[in-house]
């Protein structure tokens, strides 16, 4: 088991190199004028040259790359032209918000999707099943940002039940920083009021983000449960008198969940990169918003940094999923 983990970790190095090469290629070899955009329309040529030199943009591409990679070894991800801060610091500031959003969305998706999938499989081909199928396809088809807008309209503007956006009201003090997750930090500080407020801010973006993975997890769970239900050993279990409830939980549930794990892993990575739109709509201070602003300003260091970080998290998540899979399904154990 340990060798397996080590091997996968070692593979990270070529991944990092590959990622950075690709992103650098995109950043530097494509047309664009990041310096001009950052300096502003009124900057003198000298100011622009100074800016370019300060950020190393006047160097040849391969030299910039070399600087970047050596910086990487020290955890330095370059500096953002826009915020003038080190990218690593920016990412550390914005990553927890995105993680909070994504993890909450995944939690909602799993907690509702898995049991729904089980239920629709057991009642398959009756009308609740058909309805849920159509709703699932509808959920996947709904554009997240339109849904976000609609939710804002109905719940924030018309009903005033939930706040419009942001992680906390502007006047609120964030709780002492432990994890960066406002909700958890508020709990840890024993500040229940802040926790509730933060939860209400989290509600709409998390729900908007969760709809698509929820639908997919439900469908996958349904499909794998149906497949397991048709297996011979379920028949044997029934033939030997095992009560229906027990069969379902032990035999079906376990086997079906292991197949859904892979889907969860895939969606986690996809969501991480896909929070852009929801963060934009709800003004959520996360990586997506950060990367978007950087992209529009053609400020490439943050983009490379964000892509790198998300890519690494994705690879890690896959590793964890593979390990979890091995625990649940003993045939796939790694020696």
């Amino acid at each position: 088991m340990l060798k397996f983990i080590l091997r996968r970790l070692l593979l990270l190095i070529p991944v990092i190199i590959g990622l950075t090469v690709i992103m650098f290629a995109i950043a530097r070899l494509l047309p664009g004028d990041p310096v001009g955009l950052a300096a502003g329309p009124n900057a003198t040529p000298q100011e622009r040259a100074e800016l370019a030199h300060e950020f190393g943009l006047d160097q040849p591409v391969w030299a910039q790359y070399a600087t970047y990679v050596t910086g990487l070894a020290h955890g330095d991800l370059g500096r953002s032209l826009l915020t003038r801060r080190p990218v690593a610091a920016d990412i550390a500031a914005y990553l927890p918000a995105t993680l909070e959003l994504v993890l909450t969305a995944m939690l909602i998706a799993v907690l509702i999707g898995v049991p729904l999938g089980l239920l629709t499989a057991m009642w398959r081909n009756r009308w609740p099943d058909y309805l849920s199928q159509v709703l699932a396809i509808g959920a996947i088809s709904m554009p997240r940002f339109f849904l976000g807008l609609l939710m804002q309209l109905v719940f924030a503007m018309w009903l005033a039940w939930l706040p419009l956006g942001g992680q906390l009201p502007i006047v609120a003090f964030p709780p002492p920083h432990v994890t960066g997750f406002i909700t958890i930090d508020a709990l840890l500080a024993g500040n229940l009021d802040t926790f509730m407020v933060a939860l209400r801010h989290l509600a709409m973006p998390a729900i908007a983000l969760s709809l698509s993975p929820l639908a997919t997890i439900m469908r996958m769970m349904r499909a794998s449960t149906i497949e397991v239900m048709g297996q011979d050993y379920v028949m044997t279990a029934r033939a030997l008198g095992l009560p229906a409830r027990k069969i379902i939980m032990k035999v079906i549930g376990r086997n079906a969940v292991s197949a859904t794990l892979t889907v969860i892993g895939l969606y986690f990575g996809w969501l991480l990169g896909g929070t852009v739109l929801v963060e934009t709509v709800f003004d959520w201070p996360g990586l997506g918003l950060y990367a978007t602003k950087a992209i529009i300003s053609q400020d490439m260091m943050p983009v490379i940094g964000v892509a790198l970080v998300i890519g690494l998290i994705f690879v890690f998540a896959n590793l964890v999923i593979d390990l979890a899979y091995g625990i649940i399904n003993p045939k796939v154990r790694y020696g």
Binding site: D232, Y233, R238, A239, L240, G241, P243, N255, N329
Partner: protein, 342 residues
């Protein structure tokens, strides 16, 4: 050891089963009659599609009843008609009074659960309806169940039973898995065991061991067994009685020696005649013209009549299964009475 005076353990009378399919309604079982007593090992033989598996499944009421229907018939188990039981009552019987073994040991065990757990589950389920299964359980039901599981594993011939309880199915060979399935089927101490092709998926050498095991267990426990197979060699080795099925009917039922020595039904004759030696595996109808009837539009009366050289107009009505000689039942208007030729 047959006990002719014991009351019948299982009595199937005139069982009809239809199944809805894309092309119409298939009359799969056409009035099956079968009686099994304690201590008897009945081989239920016939070609694929003759309904033998469905008969076995019907006893345990495992055939899903939307596409299937039972328009007529009774299945009396120790006097109780199973067809009239409610689902919970039926479930109480499964595993505890009626055990089943299926064909493929690879797919019939849950791959993600340990062998011991699977055995324990069956034992606990049976004990829920009948505490005598576990006996006095000083350390709790689970403990007693584990002990029982280890004991059963040993009885079916798996060494080092206590340690093997923690293994997963894929760590066992095919033969051992089948032994485990037998253990699972018997752990509830059922009165009736239905084995559907239990050795077809196994190597020849392992087959012999499994069959010997079955015979021994039958002798030890005094249970009744229905062994469903298309392999007459298996039947000859292991069974005390044989019932031959053709297209949804039992056409002949007799003690094994008598059936092989003096087959009365033309189909049985042809079946046996097609076996040149005892080592042949499949009962092919070599030399018999025609094919198995279409179950959606079956011939009226005796379903073998279209292929039978002895058929006359009276065969247009279904011949009842009745005794030719005591203990030897035939469903035919023109049974063959000479003993089997060389």
């Amino acid at each position: 050891m047959p006990h002719p005076e014991a009351p019948p353990l299982l009595e199937i009378s005139d069982l009809h089963l239809t199944m809805a399919s894309f092309d119409g309604v298939a009359h799969v079982l056409n009035g099956v009659d079968l009686t099994v007593r304690r201590g008897e090992v009945w081989g239920l033989v016939g070609e694929s599609g003759c309904g033998k598996s469905l008969t076995g499944l019907s006893i345990s009421r495992l055939v899903p009843t939307p596409p299937a229907r039972y328009p007529a018939g009774e299945i009396r188990f120790n006097g109780t008609d199973l067809m009239r039981l409610r689902p919970r009552e039926m479930q109480a019987l499964r595993g505890r009074r009626i055990g089943m073994i299926f064909q493929d040991p690879t797919t019939n065990l849950n791959p993600t659960a340990r062998i011991g757990d699977q055995l324990v589950d069956v034992a606990l389920a049976a004990a829920a309806h009948d505490p005598t299964v576990l006996g006095p359980a000083p350390g709790g039901a689970r403990r007693a169940a584990r002990a029982l599981a280890a004991e059963m594993m040993q009885r079916v011939g798996i060494d080092d039973a206590a340690a093997r309880l923690r293994s997963y199915p894929h760590e066992f060979s095919g033969g051992m898995r089948q032994r485990v399935l037998i253990a699972m089927a018997l752990i509830g101490r059922p009165d009736l065991l239905i084995a559907d092709e239990p050795t077809t998926a196994l190597d020849v050498s392992v087959q012999a061991q499994i069959l010997a095991l079955l015979k021994r267990l039958v002798a030890e426990h005094g249970i009744g067994v229905i062994l469903i197979t298309h392999n007459l060699a298996v039947v000859a080795q292991t069974c005390s009685h044989v019932a031959v099925m053709y297209a949804g009917n039992v056409v002949e039922a007799a003690p094994v020696a008598e059936l092989i020595g003096a087959p009365a039904h033309p189909y049985t004759r042809a079946l046996l005649a097609a076996i040149p030696t005892r080592e042949t595996r499949r009962g092919e109808l070599r030399g018999l013209a025609g094919s198995v009837p279409d179950l959606i539009h079956p011939p009226p009366g005796c379903r073998f009549a279209p292929r039978c050289a002895r058929a006359t107009s009276v065969c247009q009505t279904l011949p009842p299964l009745r005794p030719l000689t005591p203990g030897h039942l035939v469903a035919c208007y023109h049974p063959i009475t000479e003993p089997a030729g060389a």
